[in-house]
Amino acid sequence: MNPLIYDFRRTFLRFSVLFFLAIFILAGIGIVYSSYSSIAKNITQKTNMIAGIWEENGTNIIGYIFNNQGDGVSGKVEVLVNGSLIGSTSTQTGYFRLKFPLNGSELSKDLEKGIKVVASTSLGYVEVPFQVQYIQIGAVQPSNQFISIVHENISVNYFNSYLGYFGYAPNNEAFSLVDGKLIFLYLGNSGEVNYSVYYGYSNLSEVSVFPVSQTSATISKTLMFAGTGEGISIFHVKMSKTNGFFTVKLVLPKSNETSIISSRYSALIPLEVDVMSSFPSGVSLFATLFPIIFLYLVYSMISKPLGSGAMEFLLARPITRDSIYINRFIAGTLTAILSSGILTLSIGLTISLLYGISPPFNFYGLIFLGITGDIMGFFSLYTLLAILIKKTSGYLGLSIVFYLIFTIFWGTLALLLSGGMFNLSAIERNEYLLDYFNPGGSLSFSEYYILRAIGEVNSISVVNPAFVVVSSLLWIIVPSIIGLIRFRRMNLI
């Protein structure tokens, strides 16, 4: 049998390794499930609404109640002014229209006070408040159509709903972007029958100009409520994979006018942010505690044979010291890779199964590299300690001390260097700086890059990808090479 295979088998197929790997996988699944349970409570509210209000022979309100996929849901809609019910209707398709006899000046007054549209569906309750402040209502011409305000539901959690620009001014159009659907509400001039909608993505901080790259939105469904061309339409759009701004351009052919509205766009919907955040959480227990298993593995594979004299018997075989050392180091490395891989896949698949959202491939890669680097860094350090300290009790004692320093006291050191616990940015900066000098630092950096990708943390200047790679590799390579050089010439008795 190839001794390397035997060494690997004795390392990976060890009861302690398999047992604790199983324990950590179960614990990781538990952590993900716990996050899922917490998120699930929040995502039960799936009723969303987009609505518009204008005055035309009384007060008109149209709206659309929809679920997280942008599909209409049935329910009851009520309009409250100052808390008093002034109109209600029910809908089967999600679209609704209400009309009640308020003229322009009355509407203006009520808008100042606040008009609220409330929808109740089997999925939950949602309300859209219309409230105009700092606006010269009185200046609005008492014409047939002197004011129109559109608004979307803003109570959607864990859901990809993007607000069109609303601010404090009345607006004629708004949109929600949901699961590849652009739900577009337009309250324009009657007579603009065949308006066109274009959309585009931009990484500009604020979009006042339509992005160069624009796509014509394909209309899926239009429901006319208002004038001839007005109402709510659903367009198919292609979701972008990158963060930035989503911009919609409305083109009115008759008046040759265009209107642009945009909203900040995140490639990940909020639900996904929470889901992806649970990926690093799911592996954290393994990454923190599995180095202890490797402390034991190094004890068993290197320290104990050295201390007991068993290494001598092995060395009397036709093998060089280099080969013994490298064989055992490779066996440990393969164990680290395999354990990390199994854990990463288990947690990733658990997330996919529970949420129905698969973590991106690069997240798998980051998590896998992070925990493998973390375990390998400690493994390499332990190996060096086992070679330097032939006495097994000395090895165990010092390894435990180093483990505690790097896993527990490293954070305290960052606090001390930052002059206390109030300068959060300095603490964060120093924590990442110190991670370069921690064998388990790669995990911290992989978490950082995942959280950056989902927009959960801001860019931190001291985190440099080249330094991250170099420091992680150095933690693996340098101790193992020093250990090898020392092992070549050491006296085994």
Partner: protein, 300 residues
């Protein structure tokens, strides 16, 4: 053949082995004799390639133990005084693992293990962990592993230590067998009587230095024999009479003639001529142990 040339080994300031040179020829059993801490085991470990000398050179079948370590290990079997294995390993698995270092496939190694475990009395214990093996079983397992490559050279380090008479006989017969097969055997033991009966040459090591190398004939000649006789009546006349054969002394009812330089037939005749009854007469050579202490004494 094992050739040790001017080998020195320090542990810090302590010189464990100092300029040691000797040779173990093929078809020869060399007894390696010294007090505890004399440097025997350190020398043996360096021959086995598990310890690296500071100076000097060791060759096994013309292969250098440092630069040609793999070849040396293939050509050398080593049964340590206290074989230590990785304790959690099972004998069978560990044998197959170690056979892998000799380039032997798993199937061949299993076949070989079955045969060697049978021959060496380990059959039935293959699946047990090595930690549960007795000292004798561990030595037999070491031997089994050493036999994987059928090497031409063997080192038995205090191999008789801790063994029952049957075990001692087993290894003594084995050493003789290997010698007859033309192998070079280095046998260290503090049970010097065991060496006397099988060694061809004795290498004495003391405080890290080789103080003497002698063939067994030289050992036997090194200290003259004693004649021990018992008669019915010891007289001054008899003692005076026997003085011409050596240094006569009386001890426990026996007359002992140290450095005996006559022959027993003459002594027998002369006792009869004195009208004395001879009850017992024996010639005793000096034991290796006595030789050893004499050699050490000569060094002082």
């Amino acid at each position: 053949m094992i050739v040790i040339e001017n080998v020195t080994k320090h542990f810090g300031d302590f010189i464990a082995v100092n300029d040691v040179s000797f040779t173990v020829n093929n078809g020869e059993i060399v007894g390696f004799v010294g007090l505890n801490g004399a440097g025997k085991t350190t020398t043996i470990r360096m021959i086995a390639g598990v310890l690296i000398q500071d100076n000097g050179r060791i060759k096994v079948d013309d292969h250098d133990t440092i630069s040609e370590k793999k070849e040396v290990s293939k050509n050398l079997g080593w049964v340590p005084e206290l074989p230590i294995f990785e304790q959690d390993a099972k004998a069978w698995d560990y044998f197959v693992y170690l056979a892998g270092f000799y380039g032997i496939s798993s199937n061949d190694a299993k076949r070989m293990a079955r045969q060697l475990f049978d021959e060496l009395g380990l059959a039935g214990f293959e699946k047990r962990k090595l930690a549960t093996y007795s000292q004798g079983m561990k030595k037999r397992f070491s031997l089994a592993v050493s036999l994987i490559s059928n090497p031409g050279n063997f080192i038995f380090d205090e191999v008789f230590n801790g063994l029952d008479p049957q075990g001692i006989q087993f290894f003594r017969d084995l050493a003789s067998k290997f010698r007859n097969e033309g192998k070079a055997i280095l046998l260290s033991s503090h049970i010097l009587s065991e060496l006397e009966s099988i060694a061809d040459k004795i290498v004495f090591i003391h405080k890290g230095r080789i103080i003497k190398q002698m063939s067994m004939d030289e050992v036997r000649r090194y200290v003259s024999p004693s004649l021990k006789i018992k008669v019915d009546r010891v007289s001054v006349e008899l003692i005076d009479y026997l003085s011409k054969y050596g240094k006569v002394r009386e001890e426990g009812g026996y007359i002992i003639i140290d450095n005996f330089n006559g022959n027993t037939a003459d002594v027998s005749k002369e006792i009869s001529a004195l009208n004395l009854n001879l009850y017992e007469m024996s010639v005793s050579s000096s034991s290796l142990e006595e030789v050893f202490f004499k050699v050490i004494g000569d060094q002082k």
